[in-house]
Symmetry: D3
Subunit: 190 residues, 6 copies
């Protein structure tokens, strides 16, 4: 059964004209990861959006925040589980395995975060992420209060909401254009 | 019955320390709109994200694209209708009224885009936006084909998906922190 | 983008044969509102049902009840928001704006009643209305008890249920035959 | 396991003050059916609404229409199946058994109308009823066209929509106040 | 309106080759019930699965358990109500009528178990059955705790889950192949 | 972050009294797999059901059928994806990786089978499995016809429905008692 042979279902420019800083980003990916993530290649169809995506992503996932990098990746996986997004489950599932050193945790979050033996802070964070993804119109003060009760600050709540929002965006873009993740993720950190 | 007295449910910095370019953006909003949109004020809780939001938003809604500005606003309203996002329905409903010169069109998209007498291109675009919002995992090649059939290019399809994604993000952030839109929108372009 | 040019998608009698009391009702509408609401014109396809609709409507929305007229209109808008009914959101959204003197309240109920700063009585009433609309089979004694707890009597609970029911009826009829509201509503009480 | 001992969960007036025409209606029920349907007893809490309900009901279910009485009862049962309304399934399930002379048809419509071996006209009618009940916002011109294709006139479509609407109303009222059907229905026409 | 004339929508073997023990089972059904349940006839298309089904069914519904036979039948009906399975609602609705001696209880569980005046043990059992059927991924420790609180043992909880699971299986098989129940059930125990 | 330390959330017998044939089954598992699957250990709480489960499972997944063993495992994973069942996604995801020799196929089916580049037969089979899992009451003749159109026989359709049913059963049992899969699955066949 052959694998999908595309980066995404939309045609990519044969020779993407990348600005120097974007070319540098691609080079850095190859150096550090061994490959350019397909999401970046897909964005090369719309070069201005590529740069914006990279900037937003770096601040969201790597910038200063009361949420650890692992926690941000956990949100990414749980949102993607709710939305059944193949690209994001593969790429961020691998990140959870790597950052946690716990391959099973990654699989639990892919399947159903409720089975994971989480401390209350993280369970509350993921309950919020699931609800905000599945029925955003029902989220209100009691949900914010549940986050405060386990110690999240106002900035943390903003960051949780922003991260949930971001993956609801990227899940939909990835599914809409049928982005396929690089194969390297599958075998890493198992 | 008093109105909500907040920009959002999370506390804002008393004196937000805005970088000069962000201060310039706020000043420009006051000059052009008469007010700083509350979404920007809300983001001042996380200044680095404020700049990124502004940059992404400008490219998405005002940058070069095969989608007209009105069409992008139409997507914003239809996604926000599916997600019942008050902030975005008010702010982008006004934009549709203004850009279309048709106040009823704005109201139709807020309530149920299916009642609007749309040309096939726009109906297909909004059908795609609704489905990608409500059941992203079900979107596939037949849905992309329906967009191509009414003339959308690969870049256009990318931009439609990106716009649908963006408002699925901003709807969730706005609802999660209870952002309230500026009152000025309500009476404009009726 | 042209507006829908019809009262409803079904053909209307060219010269509706209205009984004298119905003709009087139409005349009174023109005198008081400046127009005959399209819902009444649509019902002229089935004249006997027109009279019944008018009688039921008057008792429901204007008759003696423990619910204020504004509260009944609030229920109408929240049910119509859950059902995405364009006709009823436009007509009853205007009624909420007028009766409350608060245009923003009307918009909040159209989009998502949960963002409105409501007193507990009204919040409980609208929570009941939303649940009874979206998942009627789940409503039970705890839901009735929540209404009693904020002071509603047995008659009030009956009237709330009856009003929720009525708009679940009229939303479906209006959508099924594609009733379009009179344009006059859009600009009133903004 | 004792049965519910109430007409509805709200208290009824000890001695309902019925106007003479309503008393006559109750008397006629006892004469013809052997009992007063509990829905009428429940409405005696709000006597003005009782009369309106009776008038609307008679026109809807017994008045002149292109839909046969059996067809109207079939819609009642299918809507009530979608909404899991005990009262209406019992009362109108009996009516389908009686009018069709086919007890199994009644049971099929209670459980899942899709298993019934229906002629195309009735299958189209019930498909419309189910969709308009479960996702009213999605009903549009193709759905009306499907009704026209099997021979329904404009008046018939109006009546189908009205009947679907009516039971979406009465299902919600009956569930909200926990109306229990008279026991007599259960054993009739089996 | 003719009834379905089939055992199921898939063709049955003209002369099913039943092993002797299966033939004995069929003979025993005729002797005790007056007919061979159509579910068994349907399974004769796949004789090895027929035997397994019979064995599992007997242990599940008739074997030793902390759940009474009536309770197991109640679960069968409530799961089938959630899934709108005609075959199982007819066959197990009859079983509830017979075992409880209460025809109305059977009808309540078919329509909406929440209207039945149940003791807390049975209400908790059926709440668990409904939730596990409709949103299995949301079931967790609080749901198990609610069962323990009304006295169910670990073995009982296993049996409840197993029974809910079994009817989620058989509902899907019956609907997928359009199994029609024997007519005898309809008039029994009314 | 510690892993769950249990086979399931219900207490297991300290020394399960296994009948000789069941003990032989457990021994054979250790010999062939290196471990006893936790689902079997969980069933040892109810020894009679253990034997039945093993017999049904063997016929379903290993018996003669027009469906290949891989196809049966593919159905298992897709049903479990719809139901977010951790145990079954882990155990049967590994089986798909092993039987197909294609680790990515396993991950695609876990996340969203619609992204997998499947031949029409398998895509039709999995579309049927998804629909029968998520909305069983909507499955009918057109769905069976879609299976016949890609070459499935009556027996095959029965087996597809039976397999979909079985995992709708086991997903619910596994989630209801919080079964945790053996760790060995995670790293196999990556």
């Amino acid at each position: 059964m052959p694998q999908p042979d595309h980066v995404m279902a939309l045609p990519l420019p044969e020779k993407p004209e990348l600005d120097p800083d974007m070319q540098a980003l691609f080079d850095k990916c190859v150096e550090k990861l061994g490959f350019v993530p397909n999401v970046l290649q897909a964005y090369s169809l719309r070069p201005k959006k590529l740069r914006n995506f990279a900037v937003v992503y770096n601040e969201l996932m790597l910038g200063e925040s009361g949420l650890s990098k692992l926690e941000r990746e956990m949100i990414a996986v749980v949102v993607s589980s709710a939305n059944h997004c193949y690209y994001c489950l593969v790429a961020h599932g691998q990140a959870v395995r790597k950052l946690s050193g716990d391959p099973e945790l990654g699989e639990m979050l892919v399947a159903n975060y409720r089975v994971a033996p989480l401390e209350p802070r993280r369970r509350a964070m993921l309950d919020f992420a699931w609800k905000l993804t599945k029925e955003p119109m029902s989220v209100g003060e009691p949900d914010r209060e549940a986050l405060r009760a386990v110690g999240f600050s106002a900035e943390d709540i903003f960051d949780i909401a922003d991260t949930v929002g971001f993956y609801n965006m990227s899940n939909r873009l990835a599914t809409a254009v049928d982005m396929i993740p690089n194969r390297e993720y599958h075998s890493q950190d198992r």
